[in-house]
Structures are given as structure tokens and as C-alpha cells.
């Protein structure tokens, strides 16, 4: 019989390294990486993910030295939001669990799929792999920040509706943000340019052709919309 400390399986088979091309860093889980970011080496505290989210909720908290929430100001969708953030907290977690912005999705939580795509100073980032503390002086825009002041859909959103781009919809916020960022940089891409620009966003439904049609409609490149036979 083997005595074995229960292992919560995160990714046993994952080969991931904090240092590039370093054989010693094999089989290091993402959690290990994040722990190393905290210089103190202390175990992450039990800081609540609900602070600022739910009224009347007073969870028990044990704060371990070296791993303290700090109240920071974040610029999200044009508003300054004050929120408690752990040093190792990812932007996706902050958005989803502390700022009530659940439009940004977690699908892989490890920079493989783009469902968590947000814009930081107009550049797309995977928010699951961005530390919230690193965006304190920058402008974050999420899917929720794209509508016009009177609630009108962003042209990309409108185009995706017209082209029936989303299917299950889970990758859609990331796709929309990626497309918006693309058009900010390149207002009239070719379909091929759009294909490459959006390639950081996976869609398991494989609705890619519809998304590309949507991007072409949004930027007015109607000649490169493909329908029928």
C-alpha cells in the first residue's frame, strides 16, 4: 500500500516552465509559478474573493504575512474602481469575482485560448495571465465597456449579430475584444490579416468563418464576406 498525499490534479502531464528552455523547470504547475511570484514564499492567504462583490457577507479571513490584499484603483471601462487585490491575483479573477464583470470568461486559465481577452491600453492581453497589480496605471477595457453611451452596440458587436457569428457564445466576448483591438490598429484588414490577428482566440464550436465574416462586415470590407456557394 502506498501512502500518498492527496494531490489535487491541476495538470499532472503539463510541461510548463517559468524559465524558458530550462530542463529543471519541467512539470511545474501554474500554481507553483504564481507562488514563486510572491517573493515571500508564503502560502496564499484565504483572502475572500467576495470583498466588494456582495453586501452583508463577512467571511472569515486569516491573513498570512507577506500575502496581503491591497486596496488599489483600477481604470476599467472608463471608470475608476477601488478594489482589494492580492499580489498574485489575475486580472480575470478580479474582473469576474470582485468587479462583477463576468463577461470576460475563463476557459483554460492558462493563456491557451483567448476567452479571457481584454484590452489594456488598446492592446489585447489574456487577463487570466495578467497580474492585476500590473494594470494599476493602465486603461482596461472589457467586453462590458464596448457599448456606446446610450447602450448602442459597438460596430463589431452589431456585425457579429448580423453575421450570426456566435454559437454557444462562450468565446464570443474574447473574439469581440480581439476584433475591436484589431480594427483600432488596422481599420480595414483583409480577411487573411484578420484571420491571423484573431488567431489567439479559440472557438470550439469552430465558428471561425462566421467571425471572419463579422469582422469583414464591421470594417466595411464587404467584398471579403463569404456566404453560400
Amino acid at each position: 500500500m502506498a501512502e500518498f498525499k492527496g494531490l489535487a490534479i491541476v495538470d499532472l502531464a503539463r510541461v510548463e516552465s517559468a524559465q524558458p528552455a530550462d530542463g529543471e523547470a519541467r512539470r511545474q504547475s501554474r500554481r507553483e509559478f504564481i507562488k514563486r511570484v510572491i517573493a515571500s514564499g508564503a502560502v496564499a492567504s484565504s483572502a475572500s474573493f467576495m470583498a466588494g462583490g456582495l453586501a452583508g457577507c463577512a467571511p472569515r479571513r486569516a491573513v498570512v504575512a507577506g500575502s496581503v490584499e491591497r486596496l488599489v484603483s483600477l481604470n476599467v471601462n472608463g471608470q475608476v474602481r477601488r478594489v482589494d487585490v492580492l499580489p498574485q491575483e489575475t486580472l480575470a479573477t478580479t474582473l469576474r469575482y470582485k468587479l462583477g464583470l463576468t463577461g470576460t470568461k475563463l476557459s483554460c486559465d492558462r493563456a491557451e485560448c483567448g476567452a479571457c481577452t481584454v484590452m489594456i491600453d488598446d492592446i489585447t492581453y489574456y487577463s487570466c495571465s495578467t497580474l492585476t497589480h500590473s494594470v494599476r496605471d493602465r486603461k482596461v477595457v472589457t467586453i462590458e465597456g464596448l457599448r456606446g453611451p446610450n447602450g448602442e452596440l459597438h460596430p463589431v458587436q452589431q456585425a457579429f449579430v448580423e453575421e450570426l457569428s456566435p454559437q454557444c457564445g462562450f468565446c464570443t466576448p474574447g473574439q469581440v475584444v480581439a476584433a475591436v483591438a484589431l480594427l483600432k490598429k488596422n481599420p480595414k484588414p483583409t480577411r487573411e490579416e484578420a484571420r491571423h490577428a484573431m488567431s489567439g482566440n479559440l472557438c470550439r464550436c469552430a465558428a471561425y468563418d462566421n467571425y471572419l465574416n463579422g469582422v469583414m462586415r464591421a470594417c466595411g470590407n464587404l467584398a471579403e464576406i463569404h456566404h453560400g456557394a
Binding site: M50, C57, G103, S199, A206, D209
Partner: protein
């Protein structure tokens, strides 16, 4: 009748929510006092849990409690358990731990000390049929739906006498046959004997199946990820141990399922059970790796097929043997479906089928887009090409020769289909693709690049019947269509509801769709799987709307005199034929229905509707004119959908990589009710097919049962970079006679036609070599081109 809605595009009501991020999936919900649960998953491919010591974990501040396998009621083996003390694959769920936040929960899990007794395991089903090889389970190694759970081993001689590269064939767990199989083979001009492997691709739905649940006033509120809505309600209530009336089920959005979220599954029930124990709302968030472990995969095949052809290319005889990979638990019946597919699509005069479903130390295998039906065409289509080449028959011609007729028969009982326009689809696709010109490019080489062109086909049953429809015309004139259809991303909840709007002749703007939440009084519908919805729920909406029309006419006749047949409907009015001023608006009719009560407003209901529909209709009673009925319309045969695809690739002989340059697909889905919806499915299903055929991997280390494809990057589903520059879509658009408005479902063959076309095109580019394996990977192509042996054993599975 001139159609108002069917055949027109429309904007489904949920699309805006999807593009704005307002759509809420299970993990997006928050409840006061919510705690976070994490699963402790097995590090062993098979083990017995001897002892659990959670004391250190429970003592941590912020930890709220644990839930172990002893505290849940598991279904009898070999059904998948909710939690288990005998994990049967790496990643199997052993216990749940909840804490105030997820990080604490995760840290606490690592403080739990468990004593395991490792047990034998197997990640190769064929190998585990050998008497000397380990099994995945100790209580039986064979069994799946319809096959008794048992211990079944072949004899050593069965393995010893198989020639190199050919699958051994021992005792079958199930079999059937029709015609004189051996005698028919004897008269064949060409006989092929091919052994094959088809991978078990993981579903890897974009939304990991997180779930959240809490209890309030004796009712359980469950937020889950599900392809289906009303279909899973009773089963989920059963798993939680409550009557369906005590379950409030919210499943308004689902981030992908592809078959893995079609029915109720254990993860949906766990937060409810845990919440009941600790008296807190429980959020169970699944990681990507956990979605791999709990999200299932397609059933893989190791198999062998003998095919006998006449000189003109007609398939006369087939002898098919499939060893199917079940994963650790009771599983789907892909192996039987595959046999039906061969029988229907290729119409052999004589056929034998044998199958053995075998357990392996891997996660649940369950239906994945085209279960069994698609694997079969992936295997058969390149073999059909092989025969065409040997017999010097054109590859499109051989398909037209062998294809089923309108009511093609299949299987040992010679069941028939309601309609089949597969040959129309092949012919139409050939024309759009330009087959006659393009086939000359076959094998042409320019520098490193070789062209391959090919055609592929697929089939899937596409409809059920006998479910209920429910709608209510309100006193304001709006038509509330209550649909039990889930939201897996096909918009079928709306496209099928348009049938009701069509029958009632109302504008789409006058329709309100009620769905996604059991509190919205939904009828009993079947789940969203098996490409059925556009057939099954077209019928339910049809009968409910016809019931409403009958009641409208009766109410008008009662008020103005004459018989119901003297009345007609249009423009949201029911009026006397020839005297349109004499009549009622729908709003007025609804008010009259409420006054009259009885059957008109739902106080009296048909006797044959499902209890769920009865409850829902009762809740609506008195609120308007209720249209409710069970679909008792006749069905002649099995509704079935078909698709054909044409592919042109350019293969680089130095890298083994290829680009798909052109993709053409034609769908036979009966009457097309939502053209834009069809096009999205043809294209996306097609891309998924290209993915299954050439990109996706599932790999297990046979030494220690470790999976190596738990993440997207490893599994490698299709991305933007794999999209062909040209994708053309068409439909046959001929009606199915069994469907009130001619519709059939369509989702699944759209994957199979693409995968088979791509596999055939790769074959074509390399001179006709049939790899007999799905997927075909660059290393396989390079090894073949350079005359080297493949890097895997011929029948090895879970290795690429």
C-alpha cells in the same frame, strides 16, 4: 402556403447577450454566502482509497467542509459515480472540499492525506481483451449500453493467429447479420481486409462544466451547463434525491457540449448535494484539466472490416468488427451506430457485424458529434476510394452507385429512413466543386506540393417524436412559446419555435420565447443531441400551434356562429371566411379563452401529455389561450440527415503538412428553415471535421496511465489558422415527408463529411494509400512517403 418565417433568416433573441457579455453561464452567477468547492482528483489510473485523513485541511481557517464518496448515493456500477473511493482513471473525482475562497480550497486539498492501494489498469482496450493483460476494472472489463457488464477475454490463439497488422477477432459481445455473407464474398471481384483505429477525441467544451447550487425554502436551485433543458430535469432531480418539483433548473446558456452535456451528469448534482450538507451555496468551478477529466471524449475504435466489391464498384458484402473504448464507465453505443452507418450509406447486400465494448482507464467516453456514425465514414470513405482506384471507377460515381435511395434500408431488421437525398447532395456538391475538372489535379506535384482532391459523406439519424409542445396567447396578443429546448449554440430553440409562429401566422416580433429556466413553465422536450431538434421540436411546436388554431376557430364559431371550419386565421385575427370583419383579434380571443376556461385556457389538459408539461400548462392556466399537445403525428421510418463534402488540399511532402484550399459541403436536412443557421453549422461542423481528421490528439502513457492531452495546446483543436480560404455551403432543400414542414435535424453529418473528405484527400495526395487511422498526422504522412514504418503499432490506440 406562402411561408412567413421558414426559410428566412432572423436574429435569435440571445445573440445580443452573447456579443455583449451579458449572457450568464453557470460560473457567472453569484449568491450571498457562496463558498468555493474544489475536486480532489485521483493521481492513480486505478486505485482503492483505503483511508482519508482530512483533519489538517478541515482545521484550516476558511475551510467549510468536505464531501466524500460515502456521503453520496452513487448509481450502481458501471454507471459513472458522483464521487468514488475506487478511482478508475487519473483525474477521477474522490472528494469535494469547500472553502470561503478557491485558493484556500486548493491549498486545503493538498493537506489531505490519502492512503491508496494501486490496482491494475489498462489504456488499450484491444490489449485488455488478451488473457494475460490487465483490465481497467476488477469487476468486469466489457459492457456498454445494451451489452451486459461482464468479464470477457479472448483466447491466446485468437491473438496468435492474427496476421501482422490485422486485428485479432475473438468472441463478440454483440453481433448481427443479414444476407448470405460468405457466399456473397465469394462472388466479389475485389475483397479488402482492413484493420483500423479511430481516436477518442476529448470534447474539450469551451465552457468547463462548472456548476453552482443552493437551497431555499426546501427547493434546490441549480445553475448548470447543459445542452438540454427540460430533458435533464427529472434525471438531475433524481441524482440530487429530490422530486422534480423541488428542483429549479437554470441552464440558459451553455458554452459548448458536442454531446458531452446532452444528458444529466454527476458534476451538475455535486454542488447541490454539498450545499445541502454544509448549508451554504456552493460554486464548483472546473479548470480546463478538470473539464478533460469530467467532460468525456468520443468512443475510440480499434477494428477490422472486410469489404467485397463487384467489378463495377458496388459493395456487395461487409464484415465489420469493432472493439470500442468505453473509458472507465458505462458508455454510449457508438459501435452499434457504426454498423448502421455502414449498412445505410453503402447498402451492402449481405453484412455481418460484431462488437465488443471494452473499459479502459480513461475518463468517461460518451457521445460526441456523430457517435459511431461519423467514425464509420471516416474509416469507410477512404476504403471506398481504395476500391474505386483498384476497380478504375470514378470516386463520385462509386458513391452514387452505392448510395441509399429515398427510403434506404439498414440494419438486420431492414429499418428504413423517412427520406434520403444523399445522392442529390453528392451530385450538387460535385457540380459546385467542379469535380469533373478538379479530379485531374489528383496527385499533381509542383515542387514539394502535391494536390489531393476528394469527396466524403456522412449520415446521422435526425429526429425523435412523441414530445410535447406548449404555448400561450396572452391577452395583449403576444404569443409566448414555451420551449424545453436547451441552448447549445445552434439557435434551435428559436428556429423550431418559428414553426409555431408560422402556423399561427404571427410576426416574429409578436413572439416571446420562454426557455432556459424551469420556472418559465416548460414542456417536456427531448434533449439537444443526435441532430434531432429541428425534426422533433418542429413537430412539438406544430402540434401546439395547431391546437391553438383549433381553439381560436372554436371560440370564434362559438361567438359568431357556424362551425370552426368556417373560420380562418391571418394578421393575428381569427375571422369568418369571406367576411373578415367578423372575428376576433388574438388578444380578444385570449381574453375570451380566459372567460370560458376549460381547455381553452389550460384548466383542462390532454390526457397524454407528460407530467412536466401538465405542471407547466397548469401554471399557465387562466393566463391566456393555451395551445398544448403531444406530438402523435405519424412517422414512417427513421428520420435521417446526410451530408456530402468535397475538399482540395495541397500537401507538402517534405513536412507532411497540408493546407485545405477549398471546402464545399451540401447538407440534406429536409426543408431548410433557417438558412443562416444552416450555413453556420455546415461551416463550423466542417471545421470540426477537419480537426478530428488531422489535428486533435489524445495520448496516454501506457506505463502509468498518464494523459498527455488535458489542455487545448496539447489536444490541439482547430483554430483560425486552419480555416480554408474558401468554404462553400449549399443545401438540397427537399422536404422530408414525415415532418409537418419538411424539416430534419442536421448537426452531426456535417462533421463526418468533412473529416472523411479530408482523410480521402490526404490519401489521394499520397497516391491512394489508406492510412486506416483517424487522425492522420504529419509524421504518419512522412513515414509513409519515405517508406518507413509508422511510429506506432498498427492497432495501438491513445497514442497520437
Amino acid at each position: 402556403m406562402a411561408l412567413k418565417h421558414l426559410g428566412q433568416d432572423f436574429t435569435p433573441h440571445d445573440v445580443v447577450a452573447k456579443v455583449t457579455g451579458e449572457a450568464k453561464y453557470a460560473e457567472d452567477f453569484r449568491v450571498e454566502g457562496m463558498v468555493f468547492a474544489r475536486l480532489l482528483s485521483s493521481p492513480f489510473p486505478h486505485a482503492r482509497v483505503k483511508k482519508i485523513d482530512a483533519s489538517a485541511a478541515l482545521a484550516m481557517p476558511g475551510v467549510v467542509g468536505i464531501l466524500t464518496a460515502d456521503e453520496v448515493k452513487n448509481p450502481p456500477a458501471p454507471e459513472p459515480p458522483l464521487l468514488t473511493n475506487e478511482p478508475m482513471y487519473i483525474g477521477a473525482p474522490i472528494l469535494l472540499l469547500a472553502a470561503e475562497d478557491e485558493t484556500t480550497a486548493q491549498d486545503a486539498l493538498e493537506k489531505i492525506r490519502i492512503e491508496y492501494e494501486p490496482l491494475p489498469f489498462s489504456v488499450d482496450p484491444l490489449a485488455s481483451l488478451h488473457p494475460d493483460h490487465a483490465d481497467a476494472r476488477t469487476d468486469g472489463n466489457v459492457g456498454a449500453a445494451g451489452v451486459k457488464f461482464q468479464q470477457l477475454k479472448w483466447k491466446r490463439e485468437d491473438f496468435d493467429k492474427a496476421e501482422a497488422g490485422k486485428m485479432p477477432m475473438g468472441e463478440a459481445a454483440q453481433e448481427w447479420a443479414f444476407g448470405e455473407v460468405d457466399a456473397t464474398f465469394a462472388k466479389c471481384k475485389l475483397v479488402l481486409d482492413e484493420s483500423f483505429v479511430h481516436a477518442s477525441n476529448s470534447h474539450h467544451s469551451m465552457e468547463p462544466r462548472s456548476a453552482m447550487a443552493y437551497w431555499q425554502n426546501g427547493k434546490c436551485y441549480a445553475h448548470v451547463s447543459s445542452q438540454s433543458q427540460s430533458f435533464i430535469h427529472p434525471a438531475l432531480a433524481g441524482m440530487i434525491g429530490i422530486p422534480p418539483t423541488d428542483l429549479v433548473l437554470i441552464a440558459e446558456y451553455c458554452g459548448g457540449g458536442f454531446g458531452s452535456k446532452g444528458g444529466a451528469y454527476p458534476i451538475q448534482a455535486l454542488p447541490a448535494l454539498f450545499s445541502k450538507k454544509i448549508n451554504r451555496p456552493v460554486m464548483l468551478r472546473l479548470s480546463r484539466a478538470e473539464e478533460y477529466y469530467h467532460g468525456s471524449a468520443r468512443l475510440g475504435f480499434q477494428g477490422r472490416v472486410k469489404l467485397g466489391f463487384a467489378e463495377n464498384g458496388k459493395l456487395l458484402a461487409a464484415d465489420l468488427y469493432i472493439v470500442q473504448e468505453n473509458g472507465a464507465y458505462n458508455s454510449f453505443w457508438d459501435f452499434r451506430n457504426a454498423a448502421d452507418a455502414l449498412s445505410l450509406v453503402y447498402q451492402p447486400e449481405a453484412m455481418r457485424w460484431r462488437g465488443v465494448p471494452v473499459h479502459a482507464s480513461s475518463p468517461l467516453r460518451s457521445a460526441q458529434r456523430g457517435p459511431g456514425y461519423n467514425q464509420m465514414v471516416h474509416i469507410m470513405e477512404p476504403l471506398l476510394d481504395k476500391a474505386a482506384r483498384a476497380l478504375k471507377v470514378d470516386r463520385v460515381a462509386i458513391r452514387l452507385l452505392n448510395g441509399p435511395e429515398m427510403h434506404g434500408a439498414f440494419g438486420p431488421k431492414h429499418d428504413t429512413v423517412t427520406s434520403c437525398y444523399l445522392k442529390d447532395a453528392v451530385a450538387k456538391g460535385a457540380e459546385i466543386f467542379g469535380w469533373e475538372q478538379k479530379k485531374a489535379l489528383s496527385g499533381q506535384r509542383v515542387g514539394n506540393k502535391v494536390t489531393g482532391v476528394a469527396v466524403g459523406q456522412a449520415y446521422h439519424p435526425s429526429g425523435f417524436f412523441g414530445f410535447d409542445g406548449l404555448l400561450c396567447i396572452k391577452p395583449d396578443g403576444k404569443v409566448h412559446i414555451h420551449t424545453g429546448v436547451g441552448n447549445l449554440g445552434t439557435f434551435s430553440h428559436s428556429s423550431t419555435s418559428r414553426i409555431a409562429a408560422e402556423v399561427l401566422k404571427v410576426d416574429w416580433a409578436d413572439v416571446v420565447i420562454q426557455r432556459g429556466d424551469s420556472r418559465r413553465n416548460l414542456p417536456w422536450n427531448i434533449g439537444q443531441f443526435g441532430s434531432n431538434t429541428n425534426f422533433t421540436m418542429a413537430r412539438t411546436n406544430y402540434v401546439a400551434a395547431m391546437d391553438a388554431v383549433a381553439k381560436l376557430k372554436e371560440l370564434a364559431a362559438g361567438k359568431f356562429g357556424g362551425k370552426p371550419d368556417d373560420y380562418d386565421i391571418d394578421g393575428k385575427r381569427v375571422f369568418r371566411k369571406g367576411s373578415p370583419g367578423t372575428g376576433l383579434s388574438y388578444a380578444q380571443a385570449a381574453q375570451l379563452a380566459i372567460q370560458k376556461g376549460g381547455k381553452y385556457d389550460g384548466h383542462e389538459l390532454p390526457a397524454d401529455i407528460n407530467p412536466m408539461t401538465k405542471l407547466s400548462a397548469t401554471a399557465l392556466a387562466g393566463t391566456g389561450l393555451v395551445g398544448v399537445a403531444k406530438d402523435n403525428l405519424p412517422v414512417k421510418g427513421s428520420p435521417s440527415a446526410f451530408a456530402a463534402a468535397f475538399v482540395q488540399i495541397e500537401l507538402d511532402v517534405e513536412t507532411g503538412k497540408y493546407r485545405v484550399l477549398e471546402y464545399v459541403a451540401v447538407a440534406d436536412c429536409g426543408t431548410i428553415i433557417h438558412p443562416q443557421g444552416l450555413e453556420t453549422q455546415v461551416k463550423s461542423g466542417g471545421l470540426q471535421g477537419l480537426s478530428v481528421a488531422g489535428l486533435e490528439r489524445i495520448v496516454y502513457d501506457p506505463q502509468n496511465g498518464l494523459p498527455a492531452s488535458v489542455g487545448f495546446y496539447q489536444a490541439k483543436p482547430v483554430s483560425y489558422l486552419d480555416v480554408p480560404p474558401s468554404m462553400k455551403v449549399a443545401g438540397v432543400d427537399k422536404p422530408d415527408p414525415s415532418s409537418p414542414l419538411g424539416t430534419k435535424g442536421i448537426g452531426e453529418p456535417l462533421l463526418g463529411c468533412a473529416a472523411s473528405a479530408l482523410l480521402c484527400a490526404i490519401s489521394d495526395a499520397v497516391g491512394g494509400h489508406a492510412f486506416n487511422r483517424t487522425p492522420v498526422m504529419p509524421d504518419m504522412i512522412l513515414n509513409h512517403l519515405s517508406g518507413r514504418q509508422p511510429s506506432h503499432h498498427p492497432l495501438q490506440t491513445n497514442c497520437q
